[in-house]
Amino acid sequence: MRTYILRRLLQIVPTVLGITFVVFLMMRSVPGDPVVSLLGDAYTEEDAIKARAEFGLDKPIVVQYVIWLGKLVRGDWGASILTGRPVLQDVMIRLPVTLELIMLSMAVALVIAIPAGIIGALRQNTWADYSATTVAMIGVSIPEFFIGVLLLLVFSIGLGGFLPSSGWVYLPGTCPTMVCGSSLWGNVTHVLMPAFALGVGRAALLTRLLRASMLEVIRTEYVTTARAKGLAERPVVFKHALKNALIPTVTVMGLQVGFLIGGAIVVETLFAMPGLGTFGIDAIIARDYQQVQGFALITALAFVVINLLVDLTYTFLDPRIRYS
């Protein structure tokens, strides 16, 4: 097991290198460069050449990438071309926002999907099943930003500003600098709508998936055996059936991480949250190469680490799955 984890951790390296290198190449082929927006109205060809030399943008792309990588292994994520701020510092300020958003939306998804999926499967073809599947069908068909708009309409505008429509208040203890405001209540009111906007779609998807795999599992012989030996319905469902039915659900949850990161960009934009999503999209649009690299790096890291965690969850759900 330990060697397996170690090997998987080593595999992270090529994946992260691959993703960051491709992003590097792609960003460099985007028309326009950050020097143009940096110089603004005072742009002259001479200054531009000087500025490009200063940031090393005149070197060949591969050399630039190697320089970036060389700094990275020494813990230096570079500094933003436009603001001059260290990228790592910016990423660390924004990470807790997105992390909280994604974790809470995943929690929303599970809290809705597990009971709904189980009820749908156990009461197949009853009104409970029909309503669960209908709501799930609607849920998978609404984009996150539209759910967000509907929530805004009800809770921010309809209820006279009951929940704030934008901005962020940090959870006490998560604020990485001295300047940000933090309060528990403030945090809850700011995170609720974004977390639901992002979580409802995932909930719908997982409900459909869990219902389908529960239906498959409860028809297997070992579940019949468990029932035949007089086991109560509760342990049959939760200990025997659910654990096996969760395996495909967990796989998809892992695959959904990519979507959650994208969804975070959308939801953070809609609710004007200072998270990694808005950081990334702003950096990409401003062509701030260093910030984009930082964003790609943290995204790639999150992606591979979560996929590793998903694979390790299998061993808990099904002890027959062993990694060596």
Partner: protein, 305 residues
């Protein structure tokens, strides 16, 4: 990616339902599809939307891009059933024309991904070895990206523009992101089909490789491809709307639902309907393709219920 797509990606050798009696598998699938009310609702929505897109010129009461400073922010009325936006443009007309962008991008991006991804998947699965490793490494690299990150950077690379060219750029970006889904799906099916006896028989008869691939292997992995495509259109429409929402889709003045929704959020306090209608349009379209795709999956693979 919808979960049905994921399932079919996972499902190696997912061959369509076997025919009972003398009915062809196709006729049987159509029969099953017609029995499902939800699938028929989906088909109905899709057909209706296609008609709206084709006859947009005749259906739209006004031009979707003609602004009218005297009639900004009109509430829904007889003259403007869905009201007007900040430039006085008729919202109903914008929604009707938006159908074109949404459907065009949704359908053509998936077809483009299909025409590139399927041959790659077939070649990788059929020949195996180095060819397989080479193709699948590239596909895995694309899949290793969170798809929105890739789509966003691709769109920034292509620089979003308006009109037909702008729509083609969005189509291309979404297609690139979706190619590996088909490649993996088809490769999986081919791997199991090529071990079947009838393929061995073809080889023994001296049938050429491409003829084996296209006439014997491909028809046997069509069912998952069809289902993935229908559900994929739904996903692509959401991705298009999301890119537009982020300002990276087809640019104004070309009417696009995602863009309209985003642009009107600024006025949501007083004019909520302006964001509601484009959102509803996206929702209904995606729902239509999802219902249709679900029905198709049940019809083509009776084992999945």
């Amino acid at each position: 990616m919808g979960e049905a797509e994921l399932r079919s990606v996972d499902r190696v050798g997912w061959v369509g339902g076997r025919a009972r009696r003398s009915e062809s598998p196709f006729a049987e699938a159509v029969h099953r599809l017609r029995k499902s009310t939800t699938a028929l609702i989906g088909v109905g929505i899709v057909v209706l939307l296609v008609l709206v897109a084709i006859f947009a010129d005749a259906l739209a009461p006004q031009s979707p891009i003609a602004s009218n400073q005297a009639q900004t922010f009109q509430r829904p009325s007889w003259e403007h059933p869905l009201g007007t936006d900040q430039l006085g443009r008729d919202m109903l007309s914008r929604i009707i024309y938006g159908t074109r962008i949404s459907l065009a991008v949704g359908v053509s991006s998936v077809l483009l991904a299909l025409f590139v991804g399927v041959p790659f998947g077939m070649i990788a699965g059929f020949y195996g070895g180095r060819i397989d490793t080479g193709i699948m490494r590239v596909m895995d690299l694309i899949l290793a990206f969170p798809i929105y990150l890739l789509a966003i950077i691709l769109m920034v690379m292509f620089t979003p523009t308006a009109g037909l060219i702008g729509t083609m750029k969005v189509t291309g970006a979404i297609a690139i992101v979706r190619i590996p889904i088909y490649a993996r799906l088809v490769r999986g099916s081919v791997l199991s089909i090529k071990e079947k006896e009838f393929i061995e028989a073809c080889r023994a008869l001296g049938v050429r490789d491409y003829s084996i691939l296209f006439r014997h292997v491909l028809p046997n992995c069509l069912a998952p491809i069809i289902v993935t495509t229908t559900l994929g259109i739904a996903t692509s429409i959401i991705v298009e709307a999301t890119l537009s929402f982020l300002g990276l889709g087809t640019q104004p003045p070309t009417p696009s639902w995602g863009w309209d929704l985003k642009a009107n959020i600024a006025f949501i306090q007083a004019n909520a309907w302006l964001s509601l209608f484009p959102g509803l349009a996206i929702f209904v379209t995606v729902l239509g393709f999802n219902l249709f795709g679900d029905g198709l999956r049940d019809a083509l693979d009776p084992r999945l219920k």
